[in-house]
Protein backbone atom coordinates (compact mmCIF):
# COMPACT_ATOMS: atom_id res chain seq x y z
CA UNK A 1 0.00 0.00 0.00
CA UNK A 2 2.70 2.46 0.91
CA UNK A 3 4.44 1.92 -2.44
CA UNK A 4 1.25 2.78 -4.28
CA UNK A 5 0.92 5.84 -2.06
CA UNK A 6 4.44 6.99 -2.81
CA UNK A 7 4.20 6.42 -6.55
CA UNK A 8 0.86 8.23 -6.66
CA UNK A 9 2.22 11.19 -4.71
CA UNK A 10 5.15 11.32 -7.08
CA UNK A 11 2.82 11.35 -10.09
CA UNK A 12 0.65 14.02 -8.45
CA UNK A 13 3.67 16.20 -7.86
CA UNK A 14 4.70 15.90 -11.51
CA UNK A 15 1.14 16.77 -12.52
CA UNK A 16 1.28 19.94 -10.38
CA UNK A 17 4.55 21.02 -11.96
CA UNK A 18 3.42 20.31 -15.52
CA UNK A 19 -0.03 21.73 -14.74
CA UNK A 20 1.38 25.04 -13.51
CA UNK A 21 3.79 25.15 -16.44
CA UNK A 22 0.96 24.59 -18.92
CA UNK A 23 -1.29 27.08 -17.12
CA UNK A 24 1.20 29.78 -18.01
CA UNK A 25 1.03 29.11 -21.74
CA UNK A 26 -2.09 30.13 -23.71
CA UNK A 27 -2.29 27.02 -25.90
CA UNK A 28 -2.00 24.48 -23.12
CA UNK A 29 -3.67 26.22 -20.20
CA UNK A 30 -6.78 24.08 -20.30
CA UNK A 31 -4.80 20.88 -20.42
CA UNK A 32 -2.69 22.14 -17.53
CA UNK A 33 -5.75 22.74 -15.38
CA UNK A 34 -7.05 19.28 -16.21
CA UNK A 35 -3.71 17.64 -15.41
CA UNK A 36 -3.35 19.38 -12.08
CA UNK A 37 -6.96 18.48 -11.27
CA UNK A 38 -6.37 14.82 -12.10
CA UNK A 39 -3.18 14.77 -10.05
CA UNK A 40 -5.08 16.27 -7.13
CA UNK A 41 -7.87 13.70 -7.45
CA UNK A 42 -5.31 10.90 -7.51
CA UNK A 43 -3.55 12.25 -4.42
CA UNK A 44 -6.83 12.47 -2.52
CA UNK A 45 -8.10 9.03 -3.52
CA UNK A 46 -4.88 7.29 -2.52
CA UNK A 47 -4.72 9.24 0.74
CA UNK A 48 -8.25 8.24 1.66
CA UNK A 49 -7.63 4.61 0.68
CA UNK A 50 -4.22 4.55 2.34
CA UNK A 51 -5.56 5.98 5.59
CA UNK A 52 -8.71 3.93 5.88
CA UNK A 53 -7.87 0.72 4.01
CA UNK A 54 -8.80 -2.41 5.90
CA UNK A 55 -10.23 -0.55 8.86
CA UNK A 56 -13.86 -1.07 7.96
CA UNK A 57 -16.48 1.61 7.97
CA UNK A 58 -16.00 3.99 10.85
CA UNK A 59 -17.85 7.18 11.65
CA UNK A 60 -14.68 9.01 10.61
CA UNK A 61 -14.76 7.57 7.11
CA UNK A 62 -18.45 8.28 6.66
CA UNK A 63 -18.07 11.89 7.79
CA UNK A 64 -15.02 12.25 5.58
CA UNK A 65 -16.83 11.01 2.50
CA UNK A 66 -19.82 13.25 3.19
CA UNK A 67 -17.52 16.27 3.58
CA UNK A 68 -15.64 15.51 0.37
CA UNK A 69 -18.85 14.95 -1.55
CA UNK A 70 -20.50 18.10 -0.22
CA UNK A 71 -17.38 20.16 -0.84
CA UNK A 72 -17.07 18.99 -4.42
CA UNK A 73 -20.71 19.60 -5.26
CA UNK A 74 -20.92 23.00 -3.59
CA UNK A 75 -17.60 24.10 -5.09
CA UNK A 76 -18.78 23.14 -8.55
CA UNK A 77 -22.09 24.88 -8.11
CA UNK A 78 -20.49 28.09 -6.88
CA UNK A 79 -17.99 28.06 -9.74
CA UNK A 80 -20.71 27.46 -12.31
CA UNK A 81 -23.20 29.98 -11.06
CA UNK A 82 -20.97 32.98 -10.42
CA UNK A 83 -20.89 35.71 -13.03
CA UNK A 84 -17.65 36.34 -14.80
CA UNK A 85 -17.34 39.77 -13.17
CA UNK A 86 -17.28 38.09 -9.78
CA UNK A 87 -14.34 35.80 -10.47
CA UNK A 88 -11.78 37.71 -8.38
CA UNK A 89 -14.05 37.51 -5.32
CA UNK A 90 -14.49 33.82 -5.86
CA UNK A 91 -10.76 33.15 -6.00
CA UNK A 92 -10.43 35.04 -2.75
CA UNK A 93 -13.28 33.07 -1.22
CA UNK A 94 -11.82 29.68 -2.15
CA UNK A 95 -8.48 30.85 -0.86
CA UNK A 96 -10.12 31.61 2.48
CA UNK A 97 -11.39 28.02 2.56
CA UNK A 98 -7.84 26.70 2.21
CA UNK A 99 -6.67 29.04 4.97
CA UNK A 100 -9.51 27.89 7.22
CA UNK A 101 -8.50 24.30 6.60
CA UNK A 102 -4.92 25.07 7.68
CA UNK A 103 -6.20 26.78 10.83
CA UNK A 104 -8.36 23.80 11.82
CA UNK A 105 -5.54 21.36 11.08
CA UNK A 106 -3.28 23.31 13.42
CA UNK A 107 -5.85 23.15 16.20
CA UNK A 108 -6.47 19.43 15.67
CA UNK A 109 -2.81 18.50 15.43
CA UNK A 110 -1.89 20.50 18.53
CA UNK A 111 -3.95 18.02 20.57
CA UNK A 112 -1.93 15.11 19.20
CA UNK A 113 1.32 16.59 20.45
CA UNK A 114 2.28 15.18 23.82
CA UNK A 115 4.46 16.60 26.56
CA UNK A 116 8.12 16.79 25.72
CA UNK A 117 7.88 17.10 21.98
CA UNK A 118 10.36 18.94 19.82
CA UNK A 119 9.84 22.70 20.12
CA UNK A 120 10.86 23.30 16.49
CA UNK A 121 8.12 20.94 15.32
CA UNK A 122 5.69 22.86 17.53
CA UNK A 123 6.77 26.16 16.02
CA UNK A 124 6.21 24.74 12.53
CA UNK A 125 2.71 23.72 13.59
CA UNK A 126 2.02 27.12 15.15
CA UNK A 127 3.32 28.98 12.09
CA UNK A 128 1.19 26.91 9.71
CA UNK A 129 -1.81 27.57 11.91
CA UNK A 130 -1.16 31.33 12.21
CA UNK A 131 -0.57 31.79 8.49
CA UNK A 132 -3.68 29.79 7.73
CA UNK A 133 -5.74 31.93 10.12
CA UNK A 134 -4.38 35.20 8.71
CA UNK A 135 -5.05 34.02 5.19
CA UNK A 136 -8.55 32.94 6.15
CA UNK A 137 -9.74 36.17 7.73
CA UNK A 138 -7.76 38.33 5.29
CA UNK A 139 -9.29 36.60 2.27
CA UNK A 140 -12.76 36.98 3.72
CA UNK A 141 -12.21 40.74 4.10
CA UNK A 142 -10.77 40.92 0.57
CA UNK A 143 -13.84 39.04 -0.64
CA UNK A 144 -16.18 41.46 1.13
CA UNK A 145 -14.29 44.45 -0.25
CA UNK A 146 -14.48 43.22 -3.82
CA UNK A 147 -18.15 42.45 -3.36
CA UNK A 148 -18.56 46.05 -2.19
CA UNK A 149 -19.72 45.07 1.28
CA UNK A 150 -16.72 46.42 3.13
CA UNK A 151 -15.20 49.89 2.84
CA UNK A 152 -11.56 50.76 3.35
CA UNK A 153 -10.78 51.48 6.98
CA UNK A 154 -7.62 53.45 7.27
CA UNK A 155 -7.78 54.83 10.76
CA UNK A 156 -4.82 55.08 13.06
CA UNK A 157 -6.37 52.52 15.38
CA UNK A 158 -6.43 49.87 12.66
CA UNK A 159 -2.81 50.53 11.71
CA UNK A 160 -1.62 50.42 15.32
CA UNK A 161 -3.64 47.30 16.02
CA UNK A 162 -2.15 45.62 12.98
CA UNK A 163 1.41 46.38 14.16
CA UNK A 164 0.65 45.12 17.68
CA UNK A 165 -0.92 41.94 16.33
CA UNK A 166 2.01 41.25 14.04
CA UNK A 167 4.54 41.73 16.83
CA UNK A 168 2.60 39.50 19.21
CA UNK A 169 2.43 36.77 16.57
CA UNK A 170 6.20 36.82 16.36
CA UNK A 171 7.00 37.45 20.02
CA UNK A 172 4.62 35.09 21.80
CA UNK A 173 6.09 31.90 20.25
CA UNK A 174 9.61 33.26 20.90
CA UNK A 175 8.78 34.01 24.55
CA UNK A 176 7.25 30.58 25.02
CA UNK A 177 10.25 28.93 23.36
CA UNK A 178 12.63 30.57 25.82
CA UNK A 179 10.24 30.06 28.73
CA UNK A 180 9.56 33.73 29.46
CA UNK A 181 5.94 32.81 29.16
CA UNK A 182 4.58 29.52 30.34
CA UNK A 183 1.65 28.35 28.28
CA UNK A 184 0.52 24.89 27.36
CA UNK A 185 0.58 24.25 23.63
CA UNK A 186 -3.20 24.31 23.51
CA UNK A 187 -3.39 27.71 25.24
CA UNK A 188 -0.73 29.01 22.90
CA UNK A 189 -2.61 27.73 19.85
CA UNK A 190 -5.85 29.38 20.95
CA UNK A 191 -4.27 32.73 21.75
CA UNK A 192 -2.24 32.82 18.54
CA UNK A 193 -5.19 31.69 16.42
CA UNK A 194 -7.25 34.57 17.82
CA UNK A 195 -4.53 37.13 17.20
CA UNK A 196 -3.83 35.76 13.72
CA UNK A 197 -7.51 36.00 12.77
CA UNK A 198 -7.56 39.57 14.01
CA UNK A 199 -4.33 40.31 12.15
CA UNK A 200 -5.78 39.06 8.87
CA UNK A 201 -8.65 41.52 9.27
CA UNK A 202 -6.63 44.59 10.22
CA UNK A 203 -3.99 43.69 7.64
CA UNK A 204 -6.43 43.89 4.72
CA UNK A 205 -8.78 46.62 6.02
CA UNK A 206 -6.57 49.65 5.22
CA UNK A 207 -5.59 48.42 1.75
CA UNK A 208 -7.42 50.11 -1.11
CA UNK A 209 -9.96 48.21 -3.19
CA UNK A 210 -7.85 48.63 -6.33
CA UNK A 211 -5.01 46.77 -4.71
CA UNK A 212 -7.12 43.75 -3.81
CA UNK A 213 -5.70 41.60 -6.63
CA UNK A 214 -2.22 42.07 -5.21
CA UNK A 215 -3.50 41.22 -1.76
CA UNK A 216 -5.37 38.15 -2.96
CA UNK A 217 -2.30 36.94 -4.79
CA UNK A 218 -0.27 37.48 -1.64
CA UNK A 219 -2.80 35.69 0.57
CA UNK A 220 -2.94 32.89 -1.98
CA UNK A 221 0.79 32.56 -1.71
CA UNK A 222 0.53 32.62 2.10
CA UNK A 223 -1.94 29.75 2.09
CA UNK A 224 0.58 27.89 -0.05
CA UNK A 225 3.21 28.45 2.63
CA UNK A 226 0.78 27.27 5.31
CA UNK A 227 0.14 24.13 3.27
CA UNK A 228 3.86 23.50 2.91
CA UNK A 229 4.40 23.94 6.67
CA UNK A 230 1.52 21.60 7.40
CA UNK A 231 3.20 19.18 4.99
CA UNK A 232 6.38 19.34 7.06
CA UNK A 233 4.26 18.61 10.11
CA UNK A 234 2.77 15.52 8.45
CA UNK A 235 6.01 14.51 6.68
CA UNK A 236 3.95 14.55 3.52
CA UNK A 237 5.82 15.20 0.32
CA UNK A 238 2.85 16.17 -1.85
CA UNK A 239 1.67 18.81 0.61
CA UNK A 240 5.18 20.25 0.90
CA UNK A 241 5.78 20.44 -2.84
CA UNK A 242 2.29 21.64 -3.78
CA UNK A 243 2.36 24.27 -1.05
CA UNK A 244 5.77 25.56 -1.98
CA UNK A 245 5.01 25.76 -5.71
CA UNK A 246 2.01 27.92 -4.93
CA UNK A 247 3.95 29.90 -2.33
CA UNK A 248 6.83 30.84 -4.58
CA UNK A 249 4.78 31.22 -7.75
CA UNK A 250 2.35 33.38 -5.78
CA UNK A 251 5.09 35.71 -4.58
CA UNK A 252 6.36 36.12 -8.14
CA UNK A 253 2.85 36.79 -9.42
CA UNK A 254 2.32 39.34 -6.64
CA UNK A 255 5.50 41.17 -7.60
CA UNK A 256 4.55 41.10 -11.29
CA UNK A 257 1.24 42.76 -10.44
CA UNK A 258 2.92 45.42 -8.30
CA UNK A 259 5.32 46.10 -11.14
CA UNK A 260 2.45 46.56 -13.58
CA UNK A 261 1.06 49.26 -11.29
CA UNK A 262 4.47 50.75 -10.65
CA UNK A 263 4.02 50.46 -6.92
CA UNK A 264 6.17 48.74 -4.39
CA UNK A 265 4.68 45.88 -2.45
CA UNK A 266 5.43 47.84 0.69
CA UNK A 267 3.31 50.81 -0.45
CA UNK A 268 0.46 48.52 -1.38
CA UNK A 269 0.56 46.87 2.03
CA UNK A 270 0.80 50.19 3.83
CA UNK A 271 -2.29 51.25 1.86
CA UNK A 272 -0.74 54.43 0.56
CA UNK A 273 0.22 56.03 -2.71
CA UNK A 274 3.68 57.40 -2.78
CA UNK A 275 4.22 61.03 -1.79
CA UNK A 276 0.61 62.12 -1.88
CA UNK A 277 0.69 65.88 -2.13
CA UNK A 278 -2.25 68.02 -1.23
CA UNK A 279 -1.78 70.37 -4.17
CA UNK A 280 -1.75 67.80 -6.94
CA UNK A 281 -5.51 67.66 -7.34
CA UNK A 282 -5.90 71.41 -7.64
CA UNK A 283 -6.11 71.36 -11.44
CA UNK A 284 -9.68 70.08 -11.26
CA UNK A 285 -11.46 73.40 -11.46
CA UNK A 286 -9.22 74.75 -14.18
CA UNK A 287 -9.93 71.88 -16.52
CA UNK A 288 -12.11 72.68 -19.47
CA UNK A 289 -14.49 69.76 -19.77
CA UNK A 290 -16.12 69.21 -23.13
CA UNK A 291 -19.22 67.05 -22.90
CA UNK A 292 -20.38 65.20 -25.96
CA UNK A 293 -23.59 63.42 -26.93
CA UNK A 294 -24.39 59.94 -28.08
CA UNK A 295 -25.44 61.21 -31.51
CA UNK A 296 -22.30 63.21 -32.05
CA UNK A 297 -20.16 60.32 -31.00
CA UNK A 298 -21.94 57.87 -33.29
CA UNK A 299 -21.42 60.20 -36.23
CA UNK A 300 -17.74 60.52 -35.48
CA UNK A 301 -17.45 56.76 -35.15
CA UNK A 302 -19.12 56.18 -38.48
CA UNK A 303 -16.47 58.28 -40.23
CA UNK A 304 -13.50 56.79 -38.45
CA UNK A 305 -11.11 54.22 -39.87
CA UNK A 306 -9.44 52.88 -36.76
CA UNK A 307 -10.83 52.80 -33.25
CA UNK A 308 -9.32 51.82 -29.92
CA UNK A 309 -11.60 50.72 -27.10
CA UNK A 310 -10.00 51.03 -23.68
CA UNK A 311 -12.04 49.12 -21.11
CA UNK A 312 -11.77 49.37 -17.35
CA UNK A 313 -13.55 48.15 -14.27
CA UNK A 314 -16.54 50.40 -15.02
CA UNK A 315 -17.25 48.18 -18.00
CA UNK A 316 -17.28 45.13 -15.80
CA UNK A 317 -19.53 46.78 -13.21
CA UNK A 318 -22.01 47.84 -15.88
CA UNK A 319 -21.83 44.32 -17.38
CA UNK A 320 -21.41 46.03 -20.73
CA UNK A 321 -18.92 43.65 -22.31
CA UNK A 322 -21.54 42.12 -24.64
CA UNK A 323 -22.64 45.56 -25.85
CA UNK A 324 -19.02 46.40 -26.42
CA UNK A 325 -18.71 43.37 -28.68
CA UNK A 326 -21.90 44.41 -30.50
CA UNK A 327 -20.52 47.87 -31.11
CA UNK A 328 -17.38 46.29 -32.46
CA UNK A 329 -19.37 44.12 -34.89
CA UNK A 330 -21.39 47.05 -36.19
CA UNK A 331 -18.29 49.18 -36.66
CA UNK A 332 -16.51 46.35 -38.42
CA UNK A 333 -19.41 45.87 -40.78
CA UNK A 334 -18.84 49.50 -41.75
CA UNK A 335 -15.20 48.82 -42.43
CA UNK A 336 -13.83 50.33 -39.24
CA UNK A 337 -10.87 48.59 -37.64
CA UNK A 338 -11.48 48.06 -33.93
CA UNK A 339 -8.90 47.14 -31.32
CA UNK A 340 -9.28 46.67 -27.60
CA UNK A 341 -6.36 48.07 -25.68
CA UNK A 342 -5.97 46.47 -22.31
CA UNK A 343 -3.89 47.84 -19.49
CA UNK A 344 -2.13 45.16 -17.43
CA UNK A 345 -4.11 46.12 -14.34
CA UNK A 346 -7.43 46.94 -15.97
CA UNK A 347 -10.31 45.46 -14.06
CA UNK A 348 -9.77 43.91 -10.69
CA UNK A 349 -7.20 41.34 -11.65
CA UNK A 350 -4.62 41.03 -14.37
CA UNK A 351 -6.30 39.33 -17.28
CA UNK A 352 -9.76 40.06 -15.89
CA UNK A 353 -10.72 42.23 -18.88
CA UNK A 354 -9.51 39.60 -21.32
CA UNK A 355 -11.74 37.04 -19.68
CA UNK A 356 -14.76 39.35 -19.72
CA UNK A 357 -14.29 40.23 -23.37
CA UNK A 358 -13.66 36.60 -24.25
CA UNK A 359 -16.98 35.83 -22.58
CA UNK A 360 -18.59 38.29 -24.99
CA UNK A 361 -17.00 36.43 -27.93
CA UNK A 362 -14.49 39.11 -28.74
CA UNK A 363 -11.81 37.65 -30.97
CA UNK A 364 -8.48 37.10 -29.28
CA UNK A 365 -6.58 38.91 -32.07
CA UNK A 366 -8.45 42.13 -31.34
CA UNK A 367 -7.14 42.34 -27.79
CA UNK A 368 -3.97 44.38 -27.71
CA UNK A 369 -1.67 44.84 -24.78
CA UNK A 370 -0.59 48.31 -23.77
CA UNK A 371 2.98 48.01 -25.07
CA UNK A 372 1.81 46.77 -28.47
CA UNK A 373 -0.14 49.91 -29.36
CA UNK A 374 1.33 52.74 -27.33
CA UNK A 375 3.84 53.68 -30.03
CA UNK A 376 1.31 54.04 -32.82
CA UNK A 377 -1.56 55.35 -30.71
CA UNK A 378 -1.62 58.43 -32.97
CA UNK A 379 -2.87 56.27 -35.83
CA UNK A 380 -6.20 55.73 -34.08
CA UNK A 381 -8.99 58.08 -35.09
CA UNK A 382 -10.76 57.68 -31.83
CA UNK A 383 -10.02 56.13 -28.46
CA UNK A 384 -13.12 55.22 -26.46
CA UNK A 385 -12.39 54.93 -22.77
CA UNK A 386 -15.09 52.91 -21.03
CA UNK A 387 -15.00 52.83 -17.27
CA UNK A 388 -11.24 53.25 -17.06
CA UNK A 389 -9.60 56.21 -15.37
CA UNK A 390 -6.17 56.11 -13.80
CA UNK A 391 -4.72 53.89 -16.53
CA UNK A 392 -5.17 56.64 -19.13
CA UNK A 393 -4.22 59.59 -16.95
CA UNK A 394 -1.38 61.51 -18.62
CA UNK A 395 -0.41 62.90 -15.22
CA UNK A 396 1.40 59.61 -14.70
CA UNK A 397 3.84 60.77 -17.39
CA UNK A 398 3.83 64.51 -17.10
CA UNK A 399 3.17 65.55 -13.54
CA UNK A 400 6.02 64.54 -11.28
CA UNK A 401 3.97 65.59 -8.26
CA UNK A 402 1.14 63.22 -9.04
CA UNK A 403 0.77 60.19 -6.78
CA UNK A 404 0.57 57.94 -9.82
CA UNK A 405 3.62 59.49 -11.50
CA UNK A 406 5.66 56.78 -13.19
CA UNK A 407 2.84 54.28 -13.62
CA UNK A 408 2.79 52.95 -17.18
CA UNK A 409 -0.36 54.19 -18.93
CA UNK A 410 -2.13 53.73 -22.23
CA UNK A 411 -1.35 56.87 -24.22
CA UNK A 412 -4.98 57.47 -25.13
CA UNK A 413 -4.36 61.22 -25.34
CA UNK A 414 -2.24 60.66 -28.46
CA UNK A 415 -5.21 59.39 -30.43
CA UNK A 416 -6.81 61.95 -32.74
CA UNK A 417 -9.87 62.06 -30.56
CA UNK A 418 -10.69 60.65 -27.14
CA UNK A 419 -14.14 60.02 -25.73
CA UNK A 420 -14.44 59.00 -22.10
CA UNK A 421 -17.68 57.31 -21.14
CA UNK A 422 -18.24 57.66 -17.42
CA UNK A 423 -21.07 58.34 -15.09
CA UNK A 424 -19.79 61.46 -13.37
CA UNK A 425 -16.67 63.37 -12.49
CA UNK A 426 -15.68 60.91 -9.79
CA UNK A 427 -12.04 60.03 -9.46
CA UNK A 428 -10.39 56.70 -10.15
CA UNK A 429 -9.10 54.41 -7.45
CA UNK A 430 -5.87 56.37 -7.04
CA UNK A 431 -8.05 59.33 -6.00
CA UNK A 432 -6.44 61.79 -8.39
CA UNK A 433 -7.87 64.14 -10.99
CA UNK A 434 -7.47 62.90 -14.53
CA UNK A 435 -5.81 65.59 -16.61
CA UNK A 436 -6.85 63.71 -19.73
CA UNK A 437 -10.35 65.18 -19.36
CA UNK A 438 -8.94 68.66 -19.89
CA UNK A 439 -7.00 67.80 -23.04
CA UNK A 440 -7.90 69.51 -26.30
CA UNK A 441 -8.89 66.31 -28.11
CA UNK A 442 -10.87 64.79 -25.26
CA UNK A 443 -14.60 64.90 -24.69
CA UNK A 444 -16.72 63.21 -22.07
CA UNK A 445 -19.94 61.31 -22.42
CA UNK A 446 -21.66 61.27 -19.06
CA UNK A 447 -23.68 58.08 -18.95
CA UNK A 448 -23.74 54.55 -17.64
CA UNK A 449 -21.59 52.42 -19.95
CA UNK A 450 -24.49 50.16 -20.84
CA UNK A 451 -26.88 53.01 -21.65
CA UNK A 452 -24.26 54.86 -23.66
CA UNK A 453 -23.22 51.84 -25.70
CA UNK A 454 -26.84 50.92 -26.37
CA UNK A 455 -27.49 54.44 -27.61
CA UNK A 456 -24.46 54.50 -29.85
CA UNK A 457 -25.33 51.13 -31.35
CA UNK A 458 -28.85 52.29 -32.16
CA UNK A 459 -27.59 55.53 -33.69
CA UNK A 460 -25.12 53.64 -35.82
CA UNK A 461 -27.88 51.35 -37.06
CA UNK A 462 -29.86 54.42 -38.09
CA UNK A 463 -26.94 55.95 -39.92
CA UNK A 464 -26.56 52.80 -41.97
Amino acid sequence: MSTILEVSYFLSMISFIVGLKYLSSPQKAKLGNLLAGLGMTLAIIVTVTGSFYGKGFSLNLILLLIAVFAGTVIGKRMADKAEMTRMPQLVSYFNAMGGGCALLLGILEAQQVHGDSNRTAEVVLLTAMMIGATSFSGSIIAYLKLAGKQKDQKTLAVVVLSRIALFSLILIPVFVSYQFLSLTLMQEVCILAGIALLYGIVFVLPIGGADMPVVISLLNSLTGVATALAGIMFHNIIMISGGIFVGSAGVLLTLLMCKAMNRSLWNVLAGKFKGKKAGSGAAAEEMDIKPTSIGEMATNLAFANKIAIIPGYGLAVAQAQHLCAQLENILESKGVEVHYVIHPVAGRMPGHMNVLLAEADVHYDKLKEMEEVNDDMASYDMAIVIGANDVVNPAAEKDADSPIYGMPIIKAYEAKQVVVIKRGMSKGYAGVENSLFGEENCSLLFADAKVALNGIINELKNIA
Binding site: G32, M40, L63, L64, Y364
Partner: protein, 103 residues
Protein backbone atom coordinates in the same frame (compact mmCIF):
# COMPACT_ATOMS: atom_id res chain seq x y z
CA UNK B 1 16.82 24.56 15.71
CA UNK B 2 20.09 23.57 13.98
CA UNK B 3 19.75 19.98 15.13
CA UNK B 4 16.32 19.99 13.55
CA UNK B 5 17.72 21.20 10.24
CA UNK B 6 20.63 18.80 10.18
CA UNK B 7 18.32 15.95 11.09
CA UNK B 8 16.12 16.85 8.13
CA UNK B 9 18.66 17.76 5.48
CA UNK B 10 17.00 16.11 2.50
CA UNK B 11 13.69 17.94 3.06
CA UNK B 12 15.54 21.24 3.23
CA UNK B 13 17.24 20.65 -0.11
CA UNK B 14 13.89 19.58 -1.49
CA UNK B 15 12.17 22.72 -0.19
CA UNK B 16 14.77 25.10 -1.61
CA UNK B 17 14.64 23.40 -5.00
CA UNK B 18 10.83 23.55 -4.96
CA UNK B 19 10.94 27.28 -4.28
CA UNK B 20 13.09 27.91 -7.33
CA UNK B 21 11.07 25.52 -9.45
CA UNK B 22 7.85 27.30 -8.48
CA UNK B 23 9.27 30.64 -9.59
CA UNK B 24 10.80 29.21 -12.73
CA UNK B 25 7.78 27.37 -14.13
CA UNK B 26 5.53 30.40 -14.17
CA UNK B 27 8.09 33.09 -14.98
CA UNK B 28 7.00 33.43 -18.62
CA UNK B 29 3.30 33.80 -17.99
CA UNK B 30 1.60 36.39 -20.24
CA UNK B 31 -0.58 38.95 -18.46
CA UNK B 32 -3.83 37.54 -19.83
CA UNK B 33 -3.24 34.28 -18.02
CA UNK B 34 -2.62 35.85 -14.61
CA UNK B 35 -6.18 35.31 -13.44
CA UNK B 36 -6.49 31.64 -14.44
CA UNK B 37 -2.99 30.96 -13.16
CA UNK B 38 -3.78 32.52 -9.80
CA UNK B 39 -6.98 30.54 -9.64
CA UNK B 40 -5.20 27.31 -10.62
CA UNK B 41 -2.49 27.85 -8.04
CA UNK B 42 -5.25 28.58 -5.55
CA UNK B 43 -6.73 25.17 -6.29
CA UNK B 44 -3.36 23.44 -5.93
CA UNK B 45 -2.76 24.65 -2.40
CA UNK B 46 -6.00 22.88 -1.56
CA UNK B 47 -3.74 19.81 -1.37
CA UNK B 48 -3.81 20.63 2.33
CA UNK B 49 -6.88 18.41 2.20
CA UNK B 50 -4.46 15.47 2.27
CA UNK B 51 -3.41 16.59 5.75
CA UNK B 52 -7.03 16.96 6.79
CA UNK B 53 -7.76 13.40 5.65
CA UNK B 54 -4.81 12.01 7.58
CA UNK B 55 -5.91 13.93 10.69
CA UNK B 56 -9.48 12.74 10.26
CA UNK B 57 -8.23 9.15 10.32
CA UNK B 58 -6.61 9.32 13.75
CA UNK B 59 -9.33 11.22 15.59
CA UNK B 60 -11.05 8.81 18.03
CA UNK B 61 -14.53 7.91 16.76
CA UNK B 62 -16.20 9.14 19.95
CA UNK B 63 -14.46 12.51 20.07
CA UNK B 64 -17.34 14.44 18.56
CA UNK B 65 -15.87 17.93 18.96
CA UNK B 66 -12.75 17.06 17.03
CA UNK B 67 -14.68 15.01 14.52
CA UNK B 68 -16.76 18.10 13.78
CA UNK B 69 -13.63 20.21 13.39
CA UNK B 70 -12.10 17.55 11.15
CA UNK B 71 -15.29 17.38 9.13
CA UNK B 72 -15.22 21.14 8.59
CA UNK B 73 -11.52 21.03 7.71
CA UNK B 74 -12.09 18.35 5.08
CA UNK B 75 -15.09 20.23 3.75
CA UNK B 76 -13.16 23.51 3.45
CA UNK B 77 -10.21 21.77 1.80
CA UNK B 78 -12.45 20.07 -0.75
CA UNK B 79 -14.28 23.31 -1.46
CA UNK B 80 -10.92 24.96 -2.10
CA UNK B 81 -9.91 22.28 -4.57
CA UNK B 82 -13.13 21.72 -6.47
CA UNK B 83 -14.08 25.41 -6.58
CA UNK B 84 -10.55 26.34 -7.64
CA UNK B 85 -10.29 23.88 -10.50
CA UNK B 86 -13.82 24.45 -11.75
CA UNK B 87 -13.42 28.22 -11.74
CA UNK B 88 -10.12 27.92 -13.57
CA UNK B 89 -11.71 25.60 -16.09
CA UNK B 90 -14.55 28.02 -16.60
CA UNK B 91 -12.28 31.01 -17.10
CA UNK B 92 -10.19 29.06 -19.59
CA UNK B 93 -13.19 27.79 -21.50
CA UNK B 94 -14.11 31.44 -22.11
CA UNK B 95 -10.87 31.79 -23.98
CA UNK B 96 -11.14 28.67 -26.04
CA UNK B 97 -14.75 28.42 -27.14
CA UNK B 98 -13.75 30.02 -30.41
CA UNK B 99 -11.26 28.69 -32.87
CA UNK B 100 -8.40 31.12 -32.86
CA UNK B 101 -4.70 31.35 -33.36
CA UNK B 102 -3.08 32.43 -30.17
CA UNK B 103 0.05 34.49 -30.36
Amino acid sequence: MFEFISAHQAPFYFIVLCIFLGIEIISNVPAILHTPLMSGANAIHGVILVGAIITMQHIPSDDYVNLTLGFIAVFLGTLNISGGFFVTGRILSMFSNKKKKQQ
